[in-house]
Symmetry: D2
Subunit: 351 residues, 4 copies
């Protein structure tokens, strides 16, 4: 895949390529015209060729190393807590980084103790990190050394909520009911991801509080100018590999009518809000996760339940693309001044 | 399958055996010790043996007929609107009936015009019909000639809501987010049930109002002694064959604390409410639909989202059993004075 | 589930109830009218109630123990090699046993070294063990103390081959291409059973020789009166939970014509061969594994590829029922003089 | 997606874009740098925007028309029999065509009567048509006006067989056992593609002779220099959307030893045979269809069953890409002198 002008390309690396997010980064970066994937690390598979571990990536002729080699730009796909120090070192060394882990997403360092059980050792870096949702923080991302890539559930939820919260159409009460495919549970073996257990099954989990909840609360609070949101978030596992569908419920604040006209206004609001966004599409019908598979698109369907006066917003993404690797590359494009869609042009693999 | 004492058995029949609910009735009735399935009707397949259409039912040596033969008890698994007249005729002829269609579920005849687009022609019979949720209306079912078997979504929702609504722990605001397998869409071909479309996909539908909504509203209103509930109900399709998981959200009314103690109290309330019910089990962990597959069990997990003060109740059933055929047989058992679990003892087929 | 007359029931136990075969035994035995499940063992879960580990089995009020309690009849669902000594001890103690492991299936002790890597320590017991395929060895099973329950793949293959091999319609050359659901890989975690890896995938495995091959060869050789069969067996994993479909190819030996008449004769041969068998059904169309789900039925479709002169036999079973627990109970019924279908009457759970 | 230099691009069109093969062509052509998709036809959806029918294709701003507009190059994705006249007209008009239907695949016109039930009305054009398997007929494709794109099953089978047949390592006896995902059955509704029927099921079909058989026989005969092959081909449906795995069995002819050395030689033969092919990869382990999803790769694993002296070749493709649209574009690239991999560089979407 090396090209004549590879010397001019930005050299990028992936820390922990052997998880699903790291692997998806490799798949997408392989086709990015302005960067060259030059280094991939991963402890358990160190020494093996990428194509030995993942046969479909055989065309990327890289050997997995224990530590990342010299790069201009890095993605960390390490698990939370492990990413923190690696990212700190990379940034110190002048490498721009998109961190796919949770380690730099929460602005308040105390939340790491509460939700992840560790003390954050880089509060200074945390403070300067930009939350990597380009549709909301594009300008800041442009100048960032370190971008914290949002979680998959938060991406689907926040993109759905931003237009109505910024416009004050709903108040602080929000319920997010999310349905995720099993790749969201990662590549680490567990009984809940065992085929015979997960197949033909739907279940809810983390009802006592999923780690993506403080992230959602943080971002929602910013839309509310710091007021405290009252968010309920319940994730579910559904028997498919990729995809998240979030169904969001919130009572109208009173600025919009619970009527057909109100619905039309709401749709227009969403259309306008995202009119220049290449990766958000407002749909006229409830979206299918299948329409996002393998693509960086987020499809949003807003409506009002007229009988109850509640806004319902449905948001669909591919959890590994817009919910992880695709968004990370979108952030990289913004950070490096590339066209934002570069390398992310693929349409969904449908059916 | 005929036994020596088949003369003493109650003769039962199934109208429209060729849909999934009718077929599931045949599967379950085949093993019921006190009834004998003697007649199965179905228009398109009339003249064929049941085993020709459904090879796994070859041991039931019945020929599908255009009209139902002589029976003591009948199940109608016809589509809505078509069931009304057939049921009326059966009841007039002295046959006790469980109607699996929606035609006798709604007490207010006007709702049929609004939600189903037809005028109800048997308002008198409608008035006497008992809504067939034995956990709520057992006493009335005992004496009924006609029982309207609840819809699959309402069954999962109402069993989850009954304890908290009757106890006044929540008010009138309820959100029900349901996830259903594809068998709920029936055996009639449609693009949304086409394998390559439905597989690896989650989507919401009927956001403008699903026909099970008035049914849920009717029953919830009865718990509230006629007050008007404000229900939002959003059904979703998930890629599996059987199962419904309903996640129910409602703000606490104030009688219960949003605390660990409140959660414990809530669980005790549910345990007590259903302590004598053979087909409702209160679970200590969020239920899996897979734990209900093929069985008549409803598994319920109640909790409180302490941060938001919301009750969350998760309810799992097999849509074809507790959500249709199993509940219909449970109703029959109650109507005929059989032990309520008779013929419904099977545990879930897991994994 | 205890009944008044439980004193008169045969007390049965399951060694290693926590795997899928052990669990399926519990599900089926729970409804067997003439035995009572009184003891279930399992090391990792010892001390827990069965319903804690498997919520759908909560109605079986048994605690999992490290060692099996006092029983009249036992099923061993231990992994191979581990089962041998446990079974030996049980049989020595006067307990009749059906062993679901491979430890007593192969008549030639040397094959254990070759295929399983251990020396058989009970060659005497091995010699008297009956291979538990009732359709072939019913008479011997009647008198057996120990029955070796066949493997899932061999069950599907041997039932398909028996009629044509016994009749000499095919020679020694046989190809068996089997497709299995993931529950066949057991409950132990592995990357190949990880949902995101196994879903939307088909693959072949064990091409260098699956451990079920010597078992198939042994039984096929018996049909050929000791002549050496030339069997190729390739198992595949397909993305579903239950079911095995085996497609068997063999050239006609010359006694049957490759013609429509030959096909008719072949079908009659199969019909006659299995005419009194409650658990084998000859189908007029290629079988679906779905028509066997949860049932003890084996569905067989024999035909001739007229153009090539090859017999093709397709055989479908539920790997956990006729391929494991159901057949084990069928064997128990034969060993104990119960009606062979007792406790195994359920039709397939379809759809 | 229009670019500044779109004037220099080849204008391509798709006849019948609304089936899965047509849709997949659109998905892939959308990203081809040297052609521009300018016209898509489809009768039932004529007048609608492509994005209305397929929301994930909304970025292709084309309206579906009843008839194809002016193009330089066309793909016909019409059903068999319907394609013949349309293709004839296009070729007469000077348009180069890849026909995805079966209408120009079989060299012997009489076979159309036998297998498809119609008389071929363009035997002259049929005679000049090149069978579009670039790995075998690349040189002829370079000069062709009309290329008949191979069927999905034949592609997987012939690529697996070519090296051993050309080398004379096997004789005329071949068994092909293929497993296909449901998208191979197309977008037309049928009970066998109904989700609740196809899910959790494996079945064989077309045992009396699938229409891809004469195509396989034709191509295999060419490898054998006209000798008559004796092919058995049994297709199976497995519950997944995309992918075909073909397992091919054939006795060694005697030129290769049934030994470890023979296996090594065989692998080398395959490596050498396909060493310059961008879309065939010889794997050291049995391939997974999942490693081809969305990509134009065919993965082949050849081995010898030493015990039986049989060659076993396993071949995996995505039925909609290398088995249809991807191969069609590969053919177009060859016909138009583009680099053969252009527009087809995507790696598999895994997991």
């Amino acid at each position: 895949m090396k090209t004549a002008n590879s010397k001019n390309k930005i050299r990028v690396g992936i820390v922990n390529v052997t998880g699903y997010a790291g692997l998806e980064l490799a798949r997408l970066l392989r086709r990015h015209p302005s960067v060259e994937l030059v280094s991939v690390s991963g402890r358990s598979a160190a020494g093996k060729k990428l194509g030995e571990v993942f046969p479909h990536m055989a065309s990327v002729e890289l050997t997995i190393t224990a530590e990342l080699g010299e790069v201009d730009f890095a993605f960390s796909a390490l698990p939370h807590k492990e990413s923190m120090d690696v990212v700190k070192a990379l940034v110190s060394g002048g490498v721009k980084v998109v961190d796919i882990s949770a380690d730099f997403r929460l602005k308040d360092p105390a939340l790491y103790q509460e939700w992840y059980g560790f003390s954050h050792t880089a509060p200074g870096l945390l403070a300067e990190t930009v939350y990597g949702l380009p549709e909301v923080y594009r300008k800041d991302i442009t100048k960032a050394r370190l971008v914290a890539n949002p979680g998959c559930y938060p991406t689907s939820a926040i993109l759905g909520l931003a237009p109505v919260m910024k416009a004050g159409l709903i108040g602080s009460h929000v319920i997010i009911d999310s349905k995720s495919g099993l790749s969201g549970s990662g590549r680490t073996l567990s009984l809940s991801s065992h085929y015979a257990e997960a197949n033909e099954d739907v279940t809810a989990y983390a009802l006592e509080g999923h780690r993506h909840l403080p992230e959602i609360e943080q971002e929602v609070a910013r839309f509310m100018h710091g007021a405290k949101p009252v968010v309920t978030f319940v994730p579910h596992l559904v028997p498919m590999t990729r995809g998240i569908l979030s169904t969001i419920y919130a009572p109208l604040s009173g600025r919009l009518e619970a009527s057909k006209d109100g619905i039309a206004e709401l749709k227009t609001l969403f259309q306008d809000f995202y009119k220049d966004e290449p990766f958000v599409r407002i749909s006229q019908v409830p979206p299918h996760t299948k329409h996002t598979t393998g693509s960086n698109m987020c499809i949003i369907y807003p409506t009002i339940d007229i009988r109850s006066g509640r806004v319902i917003i449905i948001s669909a993404i591919d959890n590994l693309v817009k919910g992880a690797a695709g968004q990370a590359i979108q952030n990289m494009n913004v950070m490096l001044g590339f066209p934002e869609t570069m390398g992310l042009e693929a349409a969904a693999l449908y059916p």
